[in-house]
């Protein structure tokens, strides 16, 4: 059974304080985005550990991974994880910086099964590899596509989709 929505009765500031106390060392730059979201940055190497602890947080467990987005910032990539906690009815948005030279980050699909396809999409579109993902194949584009179209330096060419 999931906890009833909002049953913890925590305000967003309470949640931010609680997160700061429990994971303060790992969540940098944490701030509240009105009305119900805590935004924070996480070190790439700490992501999986943080995910496991957030999923198991007593009374404030983040049961759902809403989506994973990948953003190309030209000098680096960023993955964004949007999490939802039923008990507190609040969201947590984690930003992880991924180096462009070696775009690899640990998967969280073992913690939140819902992240599975979002990570496949990020691989397909942005070329970010998720270490430990069980089935990292292309998802929206065809198997033989060349390149990752949502990268800012992607140049489209007929050679990239030979089946057309």
């Amino acid at each position: 059974m999931l906890p009833a929505i909002g049953s913890a009765g925590l305000s967003i500031d309470d949640v931010a304080a609680r997160l700061g106390a429990e994971l303060g060392a790992d969540l940098t730059d944490a701030h509240v985005q009105e009305p119900d979201t805590v935004v924070a940055a996480v070190e790439r190497t700490r992501l999986h550990d943080v995910a496991v602890r957030l999923r198991a947080l007593d009374g404030l467990a983040y049961e759902s991974c809403n989506f994973v987005a990948a953003v190309d910032h030209r000098d680096h990539f960023e993955t964004v994880y949007h999490l939802y906690s039923f008990a507190s009815n609040t969201y947590l948005e984690l930003h992880v910086e991924v180096p462009r030279a070696k775009p690899v980050v640990d998967t969280v699909s073992d913690v939140w099964p819902a992240a599975d396809w979002h990570e496949r999409e990020a691989w397909d579109m942005m070329g970010i590899r998720f270490e430990g993902h069980p089935d990292l194949r292309r998802i929206l584009l065809s198997d033989d596509w060349v390149g990752h179209p949502l990268r800012k330096d992607y140049v489209d060419s007929i050679e990239n989709h030979p089946h057309v």
Partner: protein, 404 residues
């Protein structure tokens, strides 16, 4: 014949299915029918298959009639909408979200426009807020009519009548859309700070008259199937989704509420004028196929109530912001923003990152069907293939949203 249709190597999904069969047989978990001389077979269902309601392809591993494994393959309708956003101004992009979850275009457009409004700090006019809610709820009714109608039609010949009734009623709602926005399905109706046109003369009365008929429509749908023994046998206890599944797979919308999770963004993350309206969050109990069907029918009734309230409360005033130029050229300050709202199929979110220019730097959809589809392998495994059709119909997928 063989020259005209050369056989090609199996694609990755097919190869994966075959590999998994080989693994299961190597581990001694071969076909239960092996004694009868059968093996597990891979059946390619779709992308052109009447019961997948679009170009969904399921690579199904069957053991006799039993589904052993399912690999969904998507992307056949991919049109690169996230990439398109980076090449269009915020204003030019408004018609495009219509084409994601295309049976609920109003809701999708609203989702995009709301995110940009939040980024740019635009407050829509009060009259337009009510018009938006009316349109969104009308579209929820129309969308659930498609969902329920096609789902019942999948089950057995008994449902054919329902799908025709539902579609006939839906057409009346689409007529309302057409007279307000000019289009049946691809509206281009929302604007930053308001909506494109005010309601035409007589529209409110017409809409009110139609909405008073909605409870009778629902009674009609229910009377067609709810007492039917064959329908009940094919629905009750099939494809049960537990509350843990809802959390793990981030299931939202009627599919989550059918499992008793009271997650409805209109209530849990209120937006627009929903806090002022009186409506019930419709819940199921068991999370099976039947509850998912019943929740949708109940929501049609609730949406009609919401529309009627909005029409009674509809204030006068402008439907767009006074400054004519403002809605057309938008340059939100740098930053990122995610807003979500309750679409007929669940949480439809848009994540937009702005770099301060006239073009979105990055736009990402969180489409409810894309997320809901992930649970298919878990839900279908162990069922008969005919039940798999019922279960996938009850999830009410729209491929335009999944593939984007």
């Amino acid at each position: 014949m063989s020259d005209a249709f050369p056989t090609t190597a199996p694609d990755e999904a097919m190869a994966l299915a075959l590999r998994r069969i080989a693994e299961s047989e190597a581990a001694g978990r071969g076909s239960e029918m092996a004694g009868l001389g059968f093996n597990q077979v891979v059946v390619n269902m779709g992308p052109q298959h009447p019961s997948t309601h679009g170009v969904l392809r399921l690579v199904v591993t069957l053991d006799g009639e039993l589904v052993r494994d399912v690999i969904p393959v998507i992307g056949y309708l991919h049109r690169g909408k996230e990439k398109l956003a980076e090449k269009r101004t915020y204003f030019q992009y408004i018609p495009i979200p219509d084409r994601t979850e295309y049976v609920a275009g109003m809701n999708c457009e609203w989702g995009y426009v709301r995110t940009v409004e939040k980024l740019a700090g635009i407050q829509p006019t009060r009259r337009s807020e009510f018009i938006r809610v009316v349109m969104a709820e009308l579209n929820r009714i129309a969308s659930h009519q498609v969902g329920v109608g096609t789902f019942v039609a999948d089950l057995a010949p008994l449902g054919t009548a329902l799908v025709f009734y539902a579609f006939r009623h839906r057409e009346k709602i689409l007529d309302l859309f057409e007279s307000a926005s000019g289009a049946r399905m691809m509206f281009n109706y929302f604007r930053f700070g308001g909506v494109r046109y005010d309601l035409p003369d007589g529209w409110v009365e017409q809409c009110r008259e139609l909405m008073t008929q909605v409870p009778a429509w629902c009674d009609e749908y229910e009377s067609l199937v709810n007492d039917n023994a064959v329908f009940l046998q094919r629905c009750i206890g099939k494809g049960v989704m537990t509350q843990e599944d809802v959390g793990d797979y981030a299931i939202t919308g009627p599919n989550a509420r059918a499992s008793g999770v009271a997650h409805d963004l209109r209530r849990t993350r209120p937006y627009s004028v929903y806090p002022e309206l009186d409506f019930k969050v419709c819940l199921g109990e068991h999370g099976d196929v039947y509850d998912r069907y019943q929740v949708r029918v109940d929501e049609i009734r609730e949406s009609a109530r919401i529309v009627l309230q909005c029409l009674d409360m509809l204030p006068s005033g402008p439907v767009q912001l006074g400054t004519l130029r403002a809605p057309y050229v938008i340059t939100p300050p740098p930053g990122a923003c995610y807003t979500a709202q309750e679409n007929p199929r669940g949480e439809y979110g848009t994540y937009i990152e702005s770099d301060g220019s006239r073009y979105p730097y990055r736009l990402k959809y969180r489409d409810p069907c894309f997320v809901n589809l992930q649970i298919f392998p878990k839900l279908l495994r162990g069922n008969k293939i005919a039940d798999a059709v019922a279960i996938s119909g009850s999830m009410d997928l729209v491929l335009g949203g999944i593939d984007r």
